[in-house]
Symmetry: C2
C-alpha cells in the first residue's frame, strides 16, 4: 500500500502517449494516460463496447464526439462519461505541457449506470 502521485513524476510522452494500468478487476480497468500533443489519427474513432469515464487531471485537450458540431474542451478537473458505442476521438492535446487522463472502463456486463449528479451548490 504505497502512496503514489499520478502527476509527478510523469513519464515522457514526447515520442508517444504512455498508458499505464493502475488497477483492474473483472470488467473494470483504470488507466492513466499521459499525452503530449498527440491526437487520434485522422479519421480514427474510438468505438468501444465498454463504457468509459474519463477525467482530466492536468493539461488541456479537445475531444470530438461523433455527430456533435463542436469539440468538447477539457481542462483540469473536467470529467465526461462516454457510454459504450459512443464514437469519439481525441482532436487535440496541448503540445506545451503534459495532459494527464484518468480513464475508467466498465464492461457492459456490469450494467453500468450513470447517475447524473445533482448540481453542486
Amino acid at each position: 500500500m504505497e502512496v503514489r502521485n499520478l502527476l509527478s513524476p510523469l513519464p515522457s510522452a514526447e515520442e508517444a502517449e504512455v498508458t499505464e494500468r493502475l488497477l483492474g478487476a473483472n470488467g473494470v480497468r483504470l488507466e492513466r494516460i499521459v499525452s503530449l500533443g498527440q491526437a487520434s489519427p485522422e479519421g480514427f474513432w474510438y468505438d468501444q463496447a465498454d463504457d468509459e469515464w474519463v477525467l482530466l487531471l492536468a493539461g488541456r485537450a479537445r475531444l470530438t464526439i461523433a455527430g456533435e458540431p463542436d469539440d468538447r474542451q477539457l481542462g483540469p478537473g473536467d470529467a465526461i462519461y462516454l457510454p459504450g458505442g459512443c464514437r469519439h476521438r481525441v482532436a487535440w492535446t496541448d503540445p506545451a505541457q503534459p495532459t494527464v487522463w484518468l480513464a475508467l472502463f466498465l464492461d457492459p456486463g456490469l450494467d453500468p449506470l450513470h447517475e447524473p449528479s445533482a448540481d453542486a451548490s
Copy 2:
C-alpha cells in the same frame, strides 16, 4: 454526455462532508467526497469488504492505516489502494481549503487485482 468539472463549483462542506456518487455499476462505485476539516470520529475505523482506490484531487489529508506507526500524508495527485479489510481512518483534512477525494470501490466478487505500476521515468 456533459462535461462536468469535479473541482469547481464545489458544494460547501462546512457542516459535513459531501459525498456524491459519480457512477455505479454492478460491484463498482465511483464517488467524489468533499471534506473541509472533517476527520473520522475518534476510535472509528473504516473496515469494509470492498477494495478502495482513492485519489486526492485537491487539498490535503492524513490517512491512518491500522498497524502503521505514521500517518500517510496526501496531497493533490496522491493515490493509494486499500484492499478490502484494510482498516483505515481519516486522521485529518485541511480546515483551510476543501479536500476533494475521488474514491473507487470494487466489490471483492470482481476479484480486484492491483497491478503495481512500473516506476515512471
